[in-house]
């Protein structure tokens, strides 16, 4: 016989009691481990989907600009063209936005489908050239397209010249491509995407040649994909990335960067020029450094188009003009080369406001040195907007049309101008208005003879100040030139310069981004939210109820074995030893229960996932979720469950010290410490006062200030009031001075019932607390549901007063808020008329991860919006908090975006939910993004929006946006402040008129509703699991009532012997039961209502009070029914047997 034997005997003998304990432990373990398994499953499913999306791709190269297709061969991997656009069924008009358009080479089929699979190549990659397209299943479904149907793909053609630069052609970018559906793509192309996305991906696979022709990028690609062995070690991946970058740097030539080196043998120089007219700043830096490394003196040139060269200040008052001329801004080196022919360079250097005309222009104007010359020119403003400006110069000298001064090479290569035979043939972009009537014959003669030879020269510094300073994002030079020195061949010079330049150009700064695609997919697959913790918090009340029930059942078991405990104490077992014996016994049961709970956990997780796929699909939109389980979660869940059970057992066991051996031996477990009530009362009064005071204080503080986050205030105040309420009930139970029950009848039975309710105060309080906790969560969550009221449309509401939000798959090249923009966009008169009468904000959009709660993946590259000055000045929206430092900023926190922070951080504003839960950032914190030049730039959170429509993006000012993302032209998001009655008709009009840009117009209320639906769905899940906790609490109540009744069978028998009717006794028990139920429900509901009072007072609550009342009533009735059945069985037993037992 050992203590172990004693425990074994007890386990066997009391197996029924232990089974109940094991069941409670099992419930707790199942809920806890199940929640962790939900987390595993979310991560596992996201990871699977992320890997499914990228297929065999390990690394990828994405580029803002296309490069020679041959690079794919040299670098290995699969080259393709990848664009984002929209699709439309040519017949039905069904549309799909955010479509990935992939130009795939059928020769790369084995990249996607390993030959070992033996699949036919065409299943993955469309067949060779032809006007065909293969759709993935999701896109085919969305369009309702089947093989043989025609569809229209809409995308932006890559522009050589940035659309928003002076000579950009935004109107020519949008492209429609009519193709015939050849088939439906199979894996891996069905889900292929380099970006992790939980929702559906729309893929249109087009033969590479077809797409290259369509976008005028013959033999070019913009993406390379690499397969390779799966590497998991970070160092190995970094090494591979570094190797790919090095190889890339060595492989790309100047043409891939959109550059060319022109050798002018006639004038003896080498000129670096850009296909985009202006040289990128990174190229400028690299080229100047390369030239200097060769010991050469680079000459920098900025050539520009002047609308007029005007001779002013003549005595006759007549202004003479030369229309449409090339003017070159030249630095000192260039000035010496160009103007050096006149008198040994006395025209150089040029002062800030000095100009040199060539002989032709001077003769035409009749100008002499010392005259005043005014240049009239355009500068680019917003997209599609050119602003005419002018500047006056002093004519310093006149350059003869010889040597470099007669070099037409100053004019950058620009389609429609540099290749025009006559001035009349000029084909500038539409925003650059040319008045053909002003062109004279002599102008045409000049063009025929000298082409783009500049008619005037100014200093480079002045040129840049006038023409590029306002918007230098595309560059500030048109050429960097090096003169050939005697004895050196220009070809050699060009070759050396090219080598030196390539060494200095960082492909990343030119927008060539090599990415560890698989690693990034896995990182994103970790998810934006820890669903394990989320579901643990959802299941908190189930776990808490299970823990309480473990303690309660264990305590009931102990009470049944009170005599045994008393005997062992009498036999010399110390309290410590007794605790150990009973706790170990209980733990063995808890371990068995928790182990069984692991099996149940799988079922629980499965049920939760089924809920997430169906009932709660609104929250996650992830139908691909499947069960994943890690041994770690089982281990943690098991250990935590056992630990919780152990704590419950310890607390329950600890109470036994309060009972004397004598009372234990008699089997009556009742506190006989006569000082107990007084001490308990004091503690209860203190707890009650503190609970209510703290709860009220927290709520008031949260309502009048932002010192405490609302969520914290909610839980803390609710918890405090709830504890205070339980203490108040405890106080009521221990109150003295009861008047004796003297008069008979139902009232006496009611009073007797109430008296009974306080007999086992610990038990009764435990049950009231469980019911209170569960009803607290059900009421609090139910009352916290958000609705979207029309107030959201107020200027200071979540939609900022904007009723419609339009998103474009292909950025709009013009601002629909301006008359010219509407005209250029080709809006119908009706749409234009409506837009003309309302406020429209066109925001730039840098595509990226959806940062809203609709995205399950971890957000590493959030979408960025560029807010124009008008939007910032207008203000509006509801702010949770901001870094506003003065009254003006407080009145309109958007103005914080205009700040220029000393440390270079970019001010940004985001929705509080997005920042808090997805980006995990608070006010004043930085979030790093990568700009178009591949540099990490910190965004500083300067304000947080509250419940806004802008949850998917971070907002920065347009000024900062243009600097960070010069390659991102056009407007991706339009906000429209149209009256409600007009907005309904406007949405379909805009979608129709702007369908070539894949514009999707939705109501801002609908959009906020979608976000709110996610919150509400989570709340439903929380509520449902809270409900299960409440059911468990009710079961606990049933168990306690049954135990109470069994203990009192003798008492009932006695009452019957004394002539009490059964109905009276049932009434007495029901009153006792109702008192506990009502106490729990009232405490829980009351504390919940107090906690959510601020939310209810805001008026945005969408509470289904009827449903909540029904739930509470159902709980009450279920509790009453179980008690009624228990007491009915107790009073029906044989009277004498029960009396004898007594």
């Amino acid at each position: 016989m050992t203590p172990g034997t004693l425990q074994r005997r007890s386990l066997n003998y009391h197996w029924r009691m232990h089974a109940a304990l094991a069941l409670c432990a099992m419930v707790g373990s199942a809920a806890l481990t199940g929640a962790l398994l939900v987390g595993d499953s979310m991560r596992g499913s996201l990871r699977e989907m992320a890997l499914k999306r990228i297929g065999p791709v390990q690394y990828s190269l994405r580029s803002n600009q296309s490069f020679s297709q041959d690079r794919g061969k040299e670098l290995g991997g699969c080259k393709l063209l990848l664009f984002r656009g929209a699709a439309e069924h040519a017949v039905t008009g069904a549309r799909a936005n955010l479509v990935q358009i992939l130009g795939l080479d059928h020769r790369d089929d084995d990249f996607f489908l390993p030959r070992t699979l033996g699949e036919r190549a065409a299943d993955a990659v469309p067949a060779a050239a032809g006007r065909t397209v293969t759709l993935n299943a999701a896109l085919a479904r969305e369009l309702g397209a089947i093989p043989g149907d025609d569809i229209l793909l809409r995308l932006n053609r890559p522009a050589l010249v940035p659309a928003e630069s002076l000579l950009g052609r935004p109107d020519e970018q949008a492209l429609s491509l009519r193709l015939t559906v050849e088939g439906i793509a199979q894996e891996p192309m069905d889900h292929f995407s380099l970006e992790p996305a939980a929702g559906e991906v729309f893929n249109a696979l087009v033969p590479l040649d077809t797409l290259q022709d369509a976008v005028e990028q013959r033999a070019r690609a913009n993406t390379i994909l690499w397969r390779g062995p799966v590497q998991s070690e970070s160092e190995a991946i970094d090494a591979k990335i570094a190797a790919l970058r090095t190889a890339l740097s060595e492989t790309l030539d100047l043409s891939d960067y959109g550059l060319r080196l022109r050798v002018d043998f006639l004038h003896g120089y080498v000129s670096l020029e850009s296909a985009g007219v202006l040289l990128d700043r990174a190229v400028e830096d690299a080229a100047l450094a390369a030239a200097r490394s060769m010991g050469a003196e680079p000459a920098a040139v900025l050539s520009y188009l002047a609308n007029d060269i005007v001779l002013t200040g003549k005595e006759d008052g007549v202004e003479r003009r030369v229309p449409y001329s090339i003017v070159a801004g030249v630095d000192d080196a260039a000035a010496r080369q160009v103007l050096g022919h006149d008198g040994g360079g006395r025209a150089a250097p040029l002062g800030d406001d000095e100009i040199v005309l060539n002989q032709w222009a001077a003769d035409d104007l009749g100008a002499r040195p010392g005259d005043r010359i005014r240049l009239v020119y355009y500068v680019s403003g917003a997209v599609g907007k050119l602003e005419e400006r002018s500047h006056e110069f002093l004519l310093k000298a006149i350059a003869p049309l010889v040597g470099r001064a007669a070099d037409p090479g100053f004019l950058p290569n620009y389609r429609g101008i540099s290749d025009a035979d006559t001035l009349a043939d000029w084909d500038p972009p539409p925003q650059f208005k040319i008045d053909l009537k002003r062109i004279r014959d002599k102008d045409e003669d000049y063009w025929r003879q000298y082409k783009g030879t500049p008619k005037a020269f100014i200093s480079l510094r002045t040129g840049q100040r006038l023409w590029t300073e306002a918007d230098s994002r595309f560059g500030r030079l048109t050429a960097i030139q090096m003169s050939g020195t005697p004895g050196r061949a220009l070809d050699t010079l060009a070759s050396r310069f090219e080598t030196a330049l390539r060494e200095r150009i960082d492909p990343a700064r030119m927008g060539f981004v090599v990415d560890a695609t698989r690693r990034r997919a896995l990182e994103a697959g970790a998810g934006s939210t820890d669903f394990g913790m989320l579901f643990i918090s959802f299941s908190f009340f189930i776990i808490a109820a299970a823990a309480l029930l473990v303690g309660l059942v264990f305590r009931l078991n102990l009470e049944r074995r009170a005599a045994e405990v008393g005997l062992l104490r009498a036999l010399g077992y110390s309290l410590k030893r007794l605790r150990r014996i009973f706790i170990v016994e209980g733990l063995i049961v808890a371990v068995i229960g928790s182990a069984l709970g692991l099996l149940a956990a799988t079922g629980y997780a499965w049920a939760m996932l089924a809920g997430l796929r169906s009932l709660w699909n609104t929250a996650v939109n992830a139908p691909f979720l499947s069960l994943h389980a890690s041994s770690f979660s089982f281990l943690v869940g098991f250990a935590a469950s056992v630990a919780i059970a152990a704590a419950s057992l310890y607390i329950a066991m600890r109470g036994l010290a309060h009972f004397s051996v004598r009372s234990l031996l008699s089997g009556v477990v009742a506190a006989d410490r006569h000082d107990g009530p007084a001490r308990t009362r004091g503690l209860a009064i203190l707890t009650c006062a503190f609970g209510f005071a703290a709860g009220a204080g927290l709520i008031v503080t949260a309502m009048v200030s932002e010192a405490i986050p609302k969520v914290v205030a909610f839980f803390a105040s609710g918890g405090a009031v709830l504890v205070g309420g339980v203490a108040a009930v405890s106080l009521l139970m221990s109150s003295r001075g009861r008047t004796p029950i003297q008069r008979g009848g139902p009232v006496a039975m009611v009073r007797l019932g109430l008296r009974n309710a306080v007999r086992r105060r610990g038990r009764s309080l435990s049950i009231a607390a469980v019911i209170a906790c569960a009803s607290f969560i059900i009421i609090a969550v139910g009352a916290s549901r958000h609705g979207v009221s029309i107030e959201a449309l107020d200027r200071n509401g979540g939609a900022g007063g904007y009723s419609l939000i339009a998103k474009a798959s292909v950025p709009l090249p013009y601002d629909p808020g301006s008359p010219s923009g509407r005209e250029n966009l080709g809006l119908s008169d009706e749409a234009a008329a409506i837009l003309g009468g309302v406020e429209v904000a066109a925001l730039r959009l840098k595509p990226g991860d959806d940062a809203s709660c609709l995205n399950l993946y971890e957000v590493t590259r959030p979408r960025i919006l560029g807010a124009p000055p008008e939007f910032i000045a207008r203000g509006g929206f509801s702010f949770q908090k901001s870094l506003a430092a003065n009254e003006a900023e407080r009145a309109n926190p958007w103005t914080l975006l205009d700040r220029h922070l000393a440390d270079g951080a970019i001010p940004a504003i985001g929705d509080a939910n997005t920042l808090t839960w997805l980006l995990k950032k608070g006010l004043g914190e930085d979030f790093a993004i990568v700009d178009d030049a591949g540099r990490r730039r910190p965004l500083r959170i300067v304000a947080m929006l509250s419940g806004s429509v802008l949850q998917s993006e971070l907002v920065i000012s347009e000024e900062h946006f243009k600097r960070l993302f010069p390659g991102q032209s056009g407007y991706g998001m339009i906000l429209i402040d149209a009256p409600h009655d007009r907005s309904k008709g406007l949405a379909p009009l805009l979608e129709h008129d702007l369908n070539r840009y894949g514009v999707d117009v939705t109501s801002t209320l609908d959009r906020i509703n979608r976000f709110r639906a996610v919150e509400n769905t989570y709340m439903s899940a929380f509520q449902m699991l809270g409900g299960i906790g409440l059911v468990l609490g009710t079961l606990g109540l049933g168990a306690v009532m049954l135990r109470n009744i069994l203990e009192r069978r003798g008492e009932f028998a006695l009452l019957r012997a004394l002539g009490y009717r059964k109905s009276r006794m049932i009434l007495m028990v029901l009153v006792e039961n109702a008192a506990l139920l009502l106490a729990g429900l009232c405490i829980g509901s009351g504390s919940a209502l107090i906690a959510v009072a601020p939310h209810l007072l805001e008026g945005s609550a969408e509470t289904d009070w009827a449903s909540l009342s029904f739930t509470m009533a159902a709980v009450f009735l279920a509790g009453m029914l179980s008690a009624g059945l228990a007491v009915r069985s107790a009073v029906r037993g044989p009277l004498l047997q029960a009396l004898r037992r007594e």
Binding site: L567, A570, L575, V661
Partner: protein, 223 residues
């Protein structure tokens, strides 16, 4: 040696302190036995519990084998009780999940004791239950259960045996047998035996008899 001096016991209650024992003294040498009688509620069991260290006196002192048990901390007091005091209760309190042998061995589990099983078997044999070693309490009669309780009380060879109405639930013949057994063993082992009983027949078998009245212990002279 058991010595109780000026024992007073009061219970606090809402109506004020309730005095159960006012001034009780008793001294018994090894081998002596005593029976305490008195009406219900007079404090007999309370006094027995104080002697058995299950309750602390409000006033007064108890010494058992020259030790003041109430000066010990809880673990030491439990150990003292385990080694020095054997209890026999009216309703025997056998563990229903354990066999006869196991019930007798329960007190020996507190400290490792290699001789305990042999001692327990000998005691069970002594009380006449060697044929029922593996039986459970539910399979025994009331008298047999009380014999098991006596064996359990003696298994740690205590100096003091305390019995609270040991024959209260038994018929006259069984009660007589149990009383005889108890006294025989007491004499064999020279323990101090204190029995609380209503039965004057049982009390008559003891060396010394006391009546507890109004909180005081009064010796009963032999008839």
């Amino acid at each position: 040696m058991v010595e109780a001096r000026n024992i007073r016991k009061e219970y606090p209650s809402a109506a004020g302190d309730l005095s159960v024992l006012t001034d009780v003294s008793l001294a018994l040498r090894p081998g002596e036995s005593a029976a305490i009688m008195g009406p219900s509620g007079c404090g007999k069991s309370t006094f027995l519990n104080i002697l058995g260290t299950l309750e602390t006196p409000t006033w007064g002192s108890v010494r058992i084998d020259d030790c003041d048990p109430f000066s010990l901390n809880e673990p030491a007091l439990a150990k003292f009780r385990n080694k020095s005091i054997g209890f026999i209760f009216q309703d025997h309190h056998l563990l229903p999940q354990c066999s006869v042998l196991e019930n007798v061995l329960v007190p020996t589990l507190v400290q490792a004791d290699a001789d305990a099983p042999a001692r327990a078997r000998a005691l069970i044999d002594r009380v006449g239950l060697s044929a029922r070693l593996d039986h459970r309490p539910a399979e025994l009669s009331g008298g047999e259960r009380q014999r098991v309780a006596i064996a359990r009380a003696l298994v740690n060879q205590p100096a003091v045996l305390l019995a609270d109405e040991p024959t209260g639930d038994l018929d006259a013949q069984t009660a007589d047998t149990i009383a005889a057994l108890l006294l025989e063993i007491h004499r064999e082992r020279k323990t101090v035996l204190v029995v609380v009983t209503h039965s004057s027949d049982l009390a008559r078998r003891f060396d010394r008899r006391f009546q507890l009245r109004e909180g005081r212990l009064q010796p009963v002279q032999p008839a």
